[in-house]
């Protein structure tokens, strides 16, 4: 176990070194918020992958496939295909027309204060939910991995929180980017290695491997059962399973293009063309990774087994336990350290996007009407916000404790991103008549719609005593996307039509359209 600790410490040392280096170089808002816009296509592509592939991907999907087979793999598919929405619809216009945040584009044509305020609330909501899920996961994981050492859940949560605060407060976007790049490279190499080792256990024969996948043995209700794990329907069961699966798909493929911590990455590159190539780089990495979840998940199902995983830390431990089963303790330590790095890189990305939105949208543009009173104030506010965000996330994660069911928080983050952010982004760029009321209504409807539907759904309500509310669920689906995304679009359309014509918004449409499509007037990379 101490080897895991040594690898953790090595990763921490390297990333703190980078943070120190970045802190020396970075000065000014452009450097702090957008890494000087000098990140190259491959670097940003790898960083997007590192920002995106969270604990939910690496540990969560491996666990879902290990326990429910094929249905878990459905997440993998959606999480890659989602990048087509980013590539075709959002990345380039956003890079061309914005500066630091998603709200830059949303507020471009509109009355900026209400739109920015709502966009910032939506950003903070998505980031906070997502971050709490990561922090609780990190705490549970680290305390489990380091069982036998002195590290407890609370210490692990505080440690992760403090590290992310240090990266973001001192290193800004440059340090965050490099933490994400290193993590992505580690995660990819670990996954490739683990996949090869799994296949090796089957004599490098895919047909042997899949044959085993079709005969997975585990104990259910005290009885041994043999299941075909390639068969759909082990998790998403009738009567609502099919609809839930479709609803999940809606949130995944439209939510990614509304995740603020992913969107801000496109401000770190010099121009829209680089943003485009960086999405392609990200798609190559993310796609390869999710295809390999086949070996991680099914490998854990066949080589480790549900019963053993349940007794040794539960679904989230599937990938580390698989590493132990195929290559012993050293590899277990390596994979565990990667899981730790994975969480850190994601929480750093979330923290910087949340604090950028608070400083740039709420502080400078809403409270002080677009005027930075002192030079450097925005960066200073962002640093303080990062500290506060980190402290709040630590406190909430400790309050919830290691056993909290937090998977719904990630579902919620994707649902809010798809239902509140995406409709307003799309209409801002592509619909001339769209106006301030439409943007505000779209954000409010999408945000409230997804939160309410999650809270009256089976994640929160249930009659088995394990749920927050002891009542049969009012809304039958775990994933609200299929209803909340149309609610978001409907809100945006209704607001626009009822809000009356807004001439300035329509006049500025030409300006936004020219900027978004040509890059004329776009923010440029900073010189050294």
């Amino acid at each position: 176990m101490s080897l895991t600790l040594i690898l953790f410490l090595a990763f921490i040392a390297v990333t703190l070194g980078i943070t120190y280096w970045a802190a020396q170089r970075s000065s000014g808002a452009g450097a702090y918020f957008a890494a000087g816009r000098r990140i190259s296509a491959w670097q940003n592509g790898v960083a997007v992958a590192g920002d995106y592939m969270s604990a939910a991907s690496f540990l969560g999907i491996a666990g879902l496939i290990a326990f429910f087979g094929y249905d878990g793999f459905m997440y993998s598919v959606g999480w890659l295909v989602a990048y087509l929405t980013v590539l075709l619809v959002v990345a380039e216009p956003l890079r061309n027309a914005g500066k630091y945040t998603m709200a830059d584009v949303l507020a471009y044509r509109m009355n900026p204060r209400p739109v920015r305020a709502m966009a910032s609330i939506s950003t903070l909501t998505v980031s906070t939910f997502y971050m709490i899920a990561q922090m609780v996961g990190a705490g549970a994981l680290v305390s489990l991995l380091l069982k036998g050492t002195f590290i407890t859940f609370n210490m692990a949560v505080v440690g992760v929180g403090l590290l992310m605060i240090v990266y973001v407060v001192f290193g800004g976007m440059i340090a965050t980017t490099w933490v994400q790049i290193i993590k992505a490279i580690l995660l990819m190499s670990g996954t490739v290695l683990l996949s090869i080792l799994v296949l090796g256990k089957f004599g490098f024969s895919l047909s042997n491997f899949f044959n085993a996948v079709q005969h997975v043995t585990y104990t259910a209700n005290g009885q041994q059962v043999v299941k075909d794990f390639l068969q759909p329907g082990l998790r998403f069961k009738p009567p609502y399973g099919a609809l839930d699966l479709i609803s999940l798909g809606v949130a995944l493929i439209f939510g990614t293009a509304g995740l603020p911590h992913i969107l801000v990455r496109f401000y770190t590159v010099p121009d829209a063309k680089t943003a485009r190539y960086s999405v392609v780089w990200a798609m190559v990495l993310i796609g390869s990774f999710y295809i390999m979840t086949t070996f991680l998940g099914f490998g854990a199902a066949t080589l480790v087994g549900r019963d053993f995983i349940s007794k040794n830390g539960g679904t989230n431990m599937s990938a580390p336990l698989l590493a132990q089963a195929v290559a012993g303790n050293v590899f277990f330590a390596f994979i565990s350290a990667i899981a730790f790095a994975t969480i850190l890189a994601v929480v750093a990305g979330l923290t910087i996007s949340a604090s950028t939105s608070f400083a740039h949208d709420l502080w400078t543009n809403v409270i002080h009407k677009g005027v930075e009173r002192k030079p450097g104030e925005e960066v200073k506010v962002a640093r303080i916000t990062a500290f506060v965000v980190g402290a709040v996330a630590i406190a909430i994660a400790i309050m919830l404790g290691p056993t909290a069911n937090v998977a719904f928080l990630v579902a919620l983050a994707f649902a809010v991103a798809a239902s509140a952010n995406l409709p307003v982004i799309v209409f801002s760029i592509y619909w001339k008549r769209f106006n301030t009321a439409g943007a505000v209504w779209g954000l409010v409807f999408g945000l409230l719609g997804s939160i309410v539907l999650i809270f009256i759904g089976p994640s929160i309500m249930g009659v088995d005593g394990k749920h927050f509310i002891n009542h049969a669920p009012i809304f039958p689906l775990e994933n609200p996307g299929i209803l909340s995304v149309p609610i978001g679009f409907l809100g945006a359309i209704l607001g626009t039509l009822l809000g009356g014509r807004e001439l300035t918004a329509e006049e500025k449409f030409t300006e936004l359209q020219v900027r978004a499509n040509t890059g004329i007037g776009a923010e440029k990379a900073l010189a050294h």
Binding site: M74, G78, V81, T518
Partner: protein
């Protein structure tokens, strides 16, 4: 680049402060044939591409959700459901590759628009 690229006009990027082109620049660009052609070329690619990938993607949860028995049909070592899911990755990569190829044309339009704009601004600046 045009020889007058260093003229103090709407050629952003020469300084750390981005130039704010004046309002009539946007209308001028919007009126250019190249810009209209760019918008047409983009929507001719992006709209069908979005429809294709959204339809192709949702066929997966619909088919495995409503026809799990049929999707469990054996094909080689795996089944139809797994192959269909796997195909999603390759279709996504293919659409991305086609887009990158198509987008070179968009970049060409963009370049011509900037060149035209420099002439326009030089003209304005000269008088």
């Amino acid at each position: 680049m045009a020889p007058d690229a260093k003229a103090p006009v709407a050629v952003p990027g020469k300084s750390e402060i981005p130039t704010k082109p004046s309002a009539d620049v946007w209308d001028h660009v919007a009126d250019m044939d190249e810009f209209k052609l760019l918008l047409i070329a983009k929507s001719e690619f992006v709209i069908p591409a979005v429809i294709v990938f959204v339809v192709y993607y949702f066929l997966l949860p619909i088919s495995v959700g409503y026809f799990p028995q049929f999707m469990d049909t054996r094909i080689g070592p795996v089944n139809l459901a797994y192959l269909f899911a796997l195909s999603q990755f390759f279709v996504a990569w293919l659409i991305a590759a086609l887009y990158v190829r198509g987008a070179r044309k968009f970049d060409d339009f963009g370049k011509r628009i900037s060149e035209n704009l420099e002439k326009h601004d030089a003209f304005k600046g000269g008088r």
